[in-house]
Symmetry: D2
Subunit: 287 residues, 4 copies
Amino acid sequence: MAERNSAILLVRCPDAKGLVAGVSGFLYEHGANILSTDEHRDDETRQFLMRVEWDLEDFGLEPGEFARAFESAVARRFGMQWRVAYAREPLRVAVFVSKYLHCLSDLLHRRREGELRADIRLVVSNHEEAAALAGFYNVPFHHIPVTPASKAEAERRQLELLEREEIDLVVLARYMQVLSPQFVARYPARIINVHHSFLPAFSGARPYQAAFERGVKLIGATAHYVTEELDEGPIIEQEVVRVSHRDQLADMIEKGRDAERLALARAVRWHTEHRILLDGRKTVVFV
Amino acid sequence: MAERNSAILLVRCPDAKGLVAGVSGFLYEHGANILSTDEHRDDETRQFLMRVEWDLEDFGLEPGEFARAFESAVARRFGMQWRVAYAREPLRVAVFVSKYLHCLSDLLHRRREGELRADIRLVVSNHEEAAALAGFYNVPFHHIPVTPASKAEAERRQLELLEREEIDLVVLARYMQVLSPQFVARYPARIINVHHSFLPAFSGARPYQAAFERGVKLIGATAHYVTEELDEGPIIEQEVVRVSHRDQLADMIEKGRDAERLALARAVRWHTEHRILLDGRKTVVFV
Amino acid sequence: MAERNSAILLVRCPDAKGLVAGVSGFLYEHGANILSTDEHRDDETRQFLMRVEWDLEDFGLEPGEFARAFESAVARRFGMQWRVAYAREPLRVAVFVSKYLHCLSDLLHRRREGELRADIRLVVSNHEEAAALAGFYNVPFHHIPVTPASKAEAERRQLELLEREEIDLVVLARYMQVLSPQFVARYPARIINVHHSFLPAFSGARPYQAAFERGVKLIGATAHYVTEELDEGPIIEQEVVRVSHRDQLADMIEKGRDAERLALARAVRWHTEHRILLDGRKTVVFV
Amino acid sequence: MAERNSAILLVRCPDAKGLVAGVSGFLYEHGANILSTDEHRDDETRQFLMRVEWDLEDFGLEPGEFARAFESAVARRFGMQWRVAYAREPLRVAVFVSKYLHCLSDLLHRRREGELRADIRLVVSNHEEAAALAGFYNVPFHHIPVTPASKAEAERRQLELLEREEIDLVVLARYMQVLSPQFVARYPARIINVHHSFLPAFSGARPYQAAFERGVKLIGATAHYVTEELDEGPIIEQEVVRVSHRDQLADMIEKGRDAERLALARAVRWHTEHRILLDGRKTVVFV
C-alpha cells in the first residue's frame, strides 16, 4: 500500500438521517479529496459507524482546527464519538512475547518489508529467547521475568515502559501470561492477543491439546482485543487450517502457527491502519 | 436477508471532490434513510463507483421524479452514468443449461429458500434433461435444440423468448454452447457464465482434463460476464477446491461441481441485488 | 468415481509388527488386485487401523469363504476387529429432516448425479415440507409428527421403518429433534448428524444466534456420528465460511447452509464408501 | 513432528499384484516396525508408487545390506526404481534468493523452530540484501552477481558451491533469475521454485501485474520442481488468497507473499521428508 499523507476519521453514533451527508459535506467544504468511505449500520443496536480517509493535500484544516470545527459543525449535532488519526504518525507498538517466537518474527519481518506501518518501539518478554531476534530488527528488548510473586511488580515495570514510550498498542504475540484487570483497564481496545484456537472453542489453557483430544478436522487461531474476561474480548480476525487423523499433537501445534501468524498480522495491521471500530462486544473491520 | 422496500443507486463517473457529499446530500434532502453506502475509486482509471441503498419509506421522490431530479441536481454536474433499481421489482432471469443440472438445481433451490431474490421466468436447454427439474420448481421449460445448422434459428427463438419475458439477466448454468456475438451484444453485462476452471487458467474446452494433465493441486470455477471473446469477460467470482494425486479426472469433475455451484450462485445473487459494477474489464462487487 | 466391483476390508487392532504384511500377503495369495491401501497408527492408543480395497475379478474367495479364511489366517493372530463390504451392495440410507430442506435437496441431487452411491430408501420428517422433494426424486416419504407426548411412539414407528427397510445408515439432514439414547444405541456409529456450528463451539440450540452475538469472523458446520451425548459424537468433517460485521443473523444462516451442505455431503459419501473408522472418540477418514 | 530414527523407502514400478505384500513382507522379515505406508496407483500410466517409513530400532539390516537384500529379494522381481533415505541424515539445502526476503526469512525461521528438518548449508544471492538475515541464522552467505554477460560464470561458481557442500536440494526462494538448462539438468527434481501465481495462469514475468489487469478474485502461488521449460515443471503445492477490487497491485503483491511463503514452506518440508514422488509430469505427495 502506497504511503499516503492522509487523515482517517472514525465515527460512532446513533443512526440518523443525514449522517453521511453531514460528514462528507463537511469534508468537501474544507477541500478534502476523499480516498475512501466505509460505513456500517448495526441493525440491532441502531448504531452508525463510519471510517473516512482523505488526502491532506488541499485540505483546509490543521489538526487542531479540525477537532473544533468538526465537533461544532457535525459531531455535536449527531452525538458522535469520534477520533481522527494521521497516516504520517504511525502508531507506537509494544510486542509482548514468551518463548514462542513465530508471531514476533513474522511481525518484525512484515514491519521491515513495509507491510506493517507501525513503529515497533519495544519487545517485552518474561524469557530471554526473543532478545536476539529483537536485536536483529533493531528493536529494544526488555526482559521482565514474571512469577506469581513478582507479577504485580513486573506489570508495574511493563506499564512504566509503555508510558515512557507512549505506546498506543500492545500486541501479545503468544505471551503466555494473563494480564491483570488493572493492566487491561489501562489500554482498553488497545491490547491485541492471539489465542491459539478458534474461539469460543477451546478457550483457556492448552487449546491444541483439547482440539487434538476432541478430534476436530480444522484448527484455528483468533486475534482479539483483550478485556478483563480471558478469551472473551471482541474478535478481530480468525483463521483456520485443515487437519486430519494423521496430525499428532505436535503437528497441530506446527500447523496452528501458520493460522496464528496470519490472524495476528492482519489484526495488527488493521488496527494500525485505523480500520477497526468497536461495536458492543464485536468489531467492525473496514477492509 | 430481510425483504426491504428499498432503492439502489449505482453510479460511475470520473473521480472528483464532492461526489459522496453530492449524492448523500441529495438523498438526505429528499428524506432518504440510507441503509448502506459503498464506493470505490479506481486509482488507475480515476473512475469513481458508488452504490447507495436507502429505505423508500419517508422518501419524497417517486421513481419518475427521482430520475429528473437526480439528473439535474447531481448527475449532470459530475458527468455520471447512473441507474436506479428497486428491491420490490426483482430481476427477471432466464437460465440456460445443457445436460449438467447441478447449477440449475442449486439456483432453483436457492430461489425457493429465498436466498436468491430473482424472478426465474424460464429455463432454456438444448437437451431435455432439465425439463422435470424446471417443472418441479414451476419454471417454464423450453427445449431448443442447437446444431451447427440450426444455431442461428435457435438463437432467434431464444431471443424471442427473452424479449417476450422481458428478461433482465441470462444465466449460463453450464450451457455448453457458445453464444454468437450478435446474441451477446444484445445483453451486455447481462449474461453470466460459469466456466469450470480458475480463469485465466484452462480457458476453452475440457478444462478439467487439462487441469488433470497438468497436475494442479487446486481446481476452480469462475463466474463472469460473457463478452464476445470466449472466457475473457469480466470476472465476478472465483472459487477453488483442493485436489491431490488421488483424484482421477472423474473426481476432479465431481469436486469441481461444488466450486461451480458456489461461484455461480454468488455471482447471480450479487447481480440480482445490484451489487456489481463494471470497471473497464473488471468488476467492482460491493458485498 | 468409476463403478468398481471391489471389496473393502476395514481393520482395527493393537499395533504390531507384520500387520501390513499379514493382510496384504493374505490378499495376494488369493489373487487380489489391490486398488488402494490406507493405514493409520494411533501413537496414543497404539491402535492400528487399515482400509484395503481390491478388485474382485480374479479374487479366489467368495464372501462366505473370505470371512472364515481371513479370520483363521490373519485376524485371530492379531486380535483384529474387522468387517468387509462390497461396492456392488450400496448402503441403504434413511434421511431424517424437519423443515429446512437444503441438505436433503443436496443429497438427493448428488445421489441422482451418481456422486453419492447410496440407496436412499426413505425420507422421514416430523413436518410435511419435504414430501414433494422426496417425491420428485422417487424416494418414499414418511410423515411422523413428534411432540413431547408422542416422541416415544414416533421413535417406535421410525425404528420399525428402519428395520423393515434394513437401513444401514441414518442421516440427520437438519432434523431438529433429539433422538433418545435408546434409538441412538440401536445404530452405533450409523447415525450422522450435521450440526450448524463449528463444534465444539456453539453446541446445543441456536448456534447461529450465539455465533452472531459473539461476533465470530468464521462460521462453520460439523458432520458427526450421533452418540448419547448431544453434539459430542466423533467428528467426521467440518467446514467454515467467512463472515463479517456486514452479515446479520439471517445472512449467517444463509451462508452457513453452504457449509452444512458440504460437510454433510462429504461425511455421507465417506461413510457409504467405507472410508471412516472409529478410533476412540475420534474418526479416521481415509480419503 | 517428533524426531525419529527411521528409514524411508520410496518405490516406483509398473503396477502388479503382490507389490504391497512383497515390500511389507520383506520389511517384516527383517524386523521392521512400520510407522506408515502410503501408496498410489496411477490409473493412466499403470504405475505403482509407494512410501514406507519404519523405525530402525530392531531392524536387522544396515544401510549397505539393505540395498543388496532389497534389490535381490523384491526390487528386481517387480522392476522397481527405488531409493531409501534415513531421517537422521537431513538433506543438505541451498537457498537462492534475490531481493525479496519473505520466503527466505520464513524458511530460516521454520528451520530454527524445528518445523523444517533440513541442513540449510548456504544462501546464494545476486544481491546483498539477504546477507544480514543469513548471518542472523548462522548460514553462510554467498554474493554472486549475475549479469547477462556473467551468467555462465556465475552459474559455474554456484555449481561449485553446491558440489563442495554436497547439496541435495536447491530452493529458489524468489530468485529472479532463470537457470540455464545445463544447471537444471544437474539437479533433476532437486530444484524447487516458487512462482508467484496460480500456475498455469500467469506464467512468466510479472504475474501480479497480469492478475491485477485481468481482475481475478483469487491470487495464488505455486511451488514446483524446475525443469527446462520455464514454469512448466511438476507442481508440488499451490495456495490462494482472496482479493477484491479494493486491492491495488501493491496490495496483491503483499497478500501474495503469504501464499508464496506457505506454498514454498510446505513443498520444501515435504521434499526434505521424502514425501514427494514424480509421476510423469505430476507429483505424488504422501501427506
